[in-house]
């Protein structure tokens, strides 16, 4: 049965896919808590959303996902502010440009921190809450990049792959209580993160990605490639043996 979302939390809501998801949810009448590091930008998004609706649908909560210790208190503050929580979307992401011969541990750990550790810090208490209440939907924004270990950006690929595995484990842990955990694997989406990467194939807008992501969330998909054609592309790419894959420029 398709789920209705009346209250939602979007982590990473100041730009890109997270912002688009938050805007779409608010347009559909959902009350949304926006979480992101850039306070000014976050408040601007919340103000725009609220200006477009009759009531206050967006609440801004500035927070850096690397500050894991803040999350439990902040989550309780958010659920009180929203009056509940039906949907949690973890959309915070970091992808640094990495040269082929670059091994910058600082950059790599920051990507792991935002893409994986931040997700664990947020989705653990969310999953605990949803499991206790026997309801709720979790959406994690992974990437097709997590499906293979490409030479171009090892830490980014690994962080997304680990996120996929974490979400799968979370699903196996709380799915039995009626909680849905949706792994989203977008292809190329027109966001600040992908700008400057040259001409990207099958590039879609963040708003289109948000539409597809929320559709998958409502039906409780297990894994949703966005758009769906990436499922077949990645099936083919995953089928390439390692000894050949290392020669591919992907």
């Amino acid at each position: 049965m398709a789920r209705r979302f009346e209250t939602a939390l979007v982590v990473g809501a100041s730009s890109g896919i997270g912002e688009a998801v938050a805007r779409r949810l608010a347009e559909q009448g959902c009350r949304v808590a926006l979480v992101a590091r850039r306070a000014e930008r976050l408040r601007a998004v919340a103000d725009e959303i609220n200006a477009a609706s009759e009531d206050e649908r967006a609440l801004a909560f500035p927070h850096d996902v690397l500050a894991a210790e803040e999350v439990p208190d902040l989550l309780q503050e958010i659920t009180r502010g929203l009056g509940g929580l039906d949907l949690a979307v973890y959309a915070a992401g970091r992808q640094h440009a990495v040269a082929f011969d670059e091994f910058d541990t600082g950059k790599d750990l920051e990507m792991v921190g935002v893409n994986l550790a931040g997700a664990v810090a947020w989705l653990n208490p969310v999953a605990e809450r949803f499991g206790r209440l026997r309801r709720g939907t979790i959406v994690g924004i992974g990437s097709v990049a997590g499906d293979r270990g490409r030479s171009a950006n090892p830490a980014y690929n690994a962080s997304k792959a680990a996120l996929h595995t974490y979400l799968e484990a979370l699903r196996n842990r709380v799915g039995r209580y009626g909680v849905r955990v949706v792994t989203v694997k977008p292809g190329f989406v027109d966001t600040p993160m992908t700008r400057g990467q040259g001409r990207l194939p099958w590039l879609i807008s963040a708003d289109r990605a948000a539409e597809l992501i929320l559709r998958a969330a409502r039906r409780g998909a297990v894994t949703a490639y966005v758009p769906v054609r990436w499922r077949f592309v990645m099936l083919a790419i995953r089928s390439v043996p390692s000894f050949l894959f290392k020669y591919l420029k992907v």
Partner: protein, 472 residues
């Protein structure tokens, strides 16, 4: 931060509304005070909850502290000579009647199920099938203890503190937490009642029969077929009952014993009570319920017409407990009930309009129950000299909004007719219509008391937010 391990999903009995809350289950008055203090420290409102048998959102509020009093369930004092009993708020109607029946006493007002708790019965000021004769639950309370949000304990006497007492009873737990109630029970000579069943071919006849029966019988209740139209609209069966008097019951000592009161384990001679709801579920749809309603009327108006028989007090009063878990036939959406109280002169017109509206909107009530009422003296009382019609509706996901809109349509003529509503059952009544049903300054008086007794508005509920405070 409130402890995460206290987080639970808290639902109205009808399953159609619910919310997450931090549930505290104190067993003592000190525990109640500690809970109120912890909520105050966190700046979180408190909603008071008893057995959780209100159909809608009376005992829940999103992300609030839920003060669940079901573990404060001790009988504190009982005097079988006078029929006066002191109870903690978590004592259920079931526990109460089973405690006193052997001594020849019975609660003067009971609900259609024995599962509600005394605290909730007072908080919502419930009524039974004998409202015309005995009034509401609160009318049989002599005294109560109330813990205010500050932790102060006040004892209210029904006579000496009449004004405040009548404001607290029926105020949805918004003026304080009831931690003790002293009730006066009713002496009964037998554990059985005599019942008469009659049929009514239309709404007007049902109202006339209920009105004629009100002075001769202790209990008057009617079931109406909500699927009918035209001249058959509102047809139904009425049941009248009275307690047996001394000499009428050949074995009163036996009928007052608990084993005589037990509801049957097997229904229709075949189906165990505990699984009956599974057999009912395939019929819980419009065609199935139309058939059941028509069949019930057909049997009641032919072979059952004019039948007189005797039943145990529990069998007659607690019809809703015959099929344990029957609400599950309404899963997953649950059910809501709308019960409106209309002055006698306007009842036929308003109820006819309600039944026609529900049919026209394609949302006929699966169950419709008619009762005769009298006014009550409470500040937020719901009683009128007239009738009430309670309508049960299934909640189906896609039609939920239409159903909520229908409730507004059902309520409008009630307000126009000077009627009232029953918050204990409510989940969907628009607050503006509820507030419009009070015309003599009752709400202003309530708000003045609230400002005095709970100035921080610590005690809240989703129902009170919607109906009293105009929020939510």
């Amino acid at each position: 931060m409130l402890p995460r391990q206290r987080l639970e999903w808290v639902e109205g009995w009808g399953m159609a509304v619910g919310a997450a809350g931090y549930v505290f289950r104190p067993t003592t008055i000190d525990g109640v005070r500690r809970t109120l203090a912890e909520a105050a420290r966190e700046g979180v409102p408190v909603v008071v909850r008893g057995a959780g048998r209100s159909y809608g959102d009376a005992a829940l509020r999103p992300e609030s502290v839920v003060l669940d009093l079901s573990r404060m369930d001790r009988v504190l004092a009982w005097d079988p000579a006078t029929g006066v009993i002191d109870l903690e708020p978590g004592v259920t109607i079931r526990r109460l009647w089973r405690y006193v029946l052997g001594d020849g006493w019975w609660p003067p007002v009971v609900t259609g199920t024995m599962t509600p708790a005394v605290g909730g019965c007072l908080g919502m000021n419930v009524h039974g099938k004998n409202n015309w004769r005995r009034g509401t639950f609160g009318e049989h309370c002599l005294e109560l203890d109330l813990v205010l949000p500050t932790g102060e304990l006040r004892t209210l006497d029904a006579q000496a503190d009449a004004e405040l007492f009548r404001a607290v009873v029926g105020s949805f737990g918004q003026l304080g937490v009831i931690t003790r109630a002293r009730l006066r029970l009713e002496a009964v000579a037998s554990g059985r009642v005599e019942v008469e069943a009659v049929s009514a071919p239309d709404l007007e006849t049902a109202l006339r029969l209920a009105d004629e029966a009100k002075d001769d019988w202790e209990y008057v209740v009617g079931w109406l077929d909500g699927f009918t139209r035209g001249r058959r609209l509102g047809r139904g069966l009425l049941h009248f009952a009275r307690h047996l008097e001394g000499g009428e019951d050949p074995a009163p000592a036996q009928s007052l014993r608990l084993e005589h009161q037990d509801l049957p384990d097997v229904l229709l001679g075949l189906v165990p009570r505990s699984v009956m709801w599974r057999f009912m579920r395939p019929l819980t749809n419009r065609p199935g319920m139309r058939l059941l309603n028509a069949g019930r009327y057909l049997v009641g108006s032919t072979v059952g017409e004019g039948a007189r028989y005797r039943q145990s007090l529990a069998e007659f009063n607690f019809l809703l407990d015959y099929v344990p878990g029957w609400k599950r036939v309404y899963e997953p959406g649950g059910l809501i009930q709308h019960q409106s109280f209309v002055p006698a002169a306007a009842a036929a017109g308003v109820f006819r309009r309600q039944l026609e509206l529900a049919r026209r909107r394609g949302l006929p009530p699966f169950l419709a129950v008619l009762k005769r009422h009298r006014p009550d003296p409470f500040l937020l009382g719901h009683g009128v000299d007239g009738f009430s019609l309670a309508l049960d509706f299934p909640v189906r996901g896609r039609r939920r909004r239409e159903l909520w809109a229908l409730v507004r349509e059902l309520a409008e003529p009630v307000v126009e007719a000077g009627g009232r509503f029953y918050p204990a059952k409510d989940a969907a009544l628009p607050g503006d219509l509820y507030r419009a049903s009070f015309r003599d300054g009752q709400l202003e008086r309530f708000h003045a008391l609230k400002a005095d007794m709970d100035p921080q508005h610590r005690l809240r509920s989703a129902l009170a937010d919607r109906l009293l405070y105009g929020e939510g």
